[in-house]
């Protein structure tokens, strides 16, 4: 089965850009502004991940099937988060209260 050649990519340049982004993502949160921390730490993490996927994994030049597989799985992860979040994030609602499971004392004796 013949392999298609990858286009010429300057991998060292991509690596250097990744290191610059890493530096920004470390320095940004030190400033102490919450929104800036979110953008620099997590936003840049997404950009770095996309660069590694696109240029190092050659996903930018890969056949569409690889994209379909990955996007479907990522969509399932989003579904997991948003499906479970209402239960985890809220501890009370209309006519119900959920005590935090982490704070429950350990019962000896075994009554249920």
């Amino acid at each position: 089965m013949s392999e298609q050649a990858h286009p010429k990519i300057n991998y060292v340049k991509i690596w250097f850009v990744l290191l610059v982004l890493l530096t920004v993502s470390i320095i940004g949160p030190m400033i102490g502004i919450r929104s800036l921390t979110l953008i620099t730490a997590f936003g840049i993490a997404v950009v770095k991940a996309l660069m590694v996927c696109g240029y190092f994994m050659h996903l930018k030049f890969e056949k569409k099937i690889a994209w379909y597989i990955l996007i479907t799985i990522l969509a399932l992860m989003f579904l997991f988060f948003f499906a479970v979040a209402p239960d985890v994030m809220k501890h009370k609602g209309n006519n119900w209260v959920r005590p935090s499971p982490i704070l429950l004392p350990v019962q000896g004796g075994g009554h249920h």
Partner: protein, 192 residues
Amino acid sequence: MSHVPVATLRSVTGIPTGRLAVWWVIASEIVIFGGLLVSYLLFRLYHGEVWGAEAAHTNTVAGAFNTFVLLTSSLFIVLAHKAAEEKNIKKAFQFIWYTIAGGGVFMMVKAYEYTTEILHGFTMFKSVFWSFYYTATGLHGFHVLMGMLIMAIISFDVKKGKNLHRVENIGIYWHFVDVVWIFLFPLLYIAK
């Protein structure tokens, strides 16, 4: 007469069978790590201040250095793939072992971190944050070790000029391990 697997003689998707299989492996790994990270995120958002205080005890310098090490090792393995494409066997072999060395450095830094943290009482059972920390980084570290082992095995075939396509395949796996760490680092080390 050498046995050629039937799957390698045809492709429905246009991607070589081995590489397609690696993408499927990556997809399953996204579910594993994604599930763990989504669960961590849910708990972290719920327990904001308390977990932020726990996360203050992770070693950001070590985490940042490890991020640099993994990014550099990703560079080495993609350069190994480039060398393999150019049929430069010696260079491909060298770059694969530079990548393995990067993985080794990562694991040594991780060992130092674990030792320091455990000696200070931050064990897996101290709190749910530390349970997540050791589970996520331990699982990731296990993947780093397995990647190093597979790269070592592949390198000996590469040295003989055989199965050069496997350099790209293990490279894709290694880049995924790097991407997981790219997300673990801000979640566990930066968000304090």
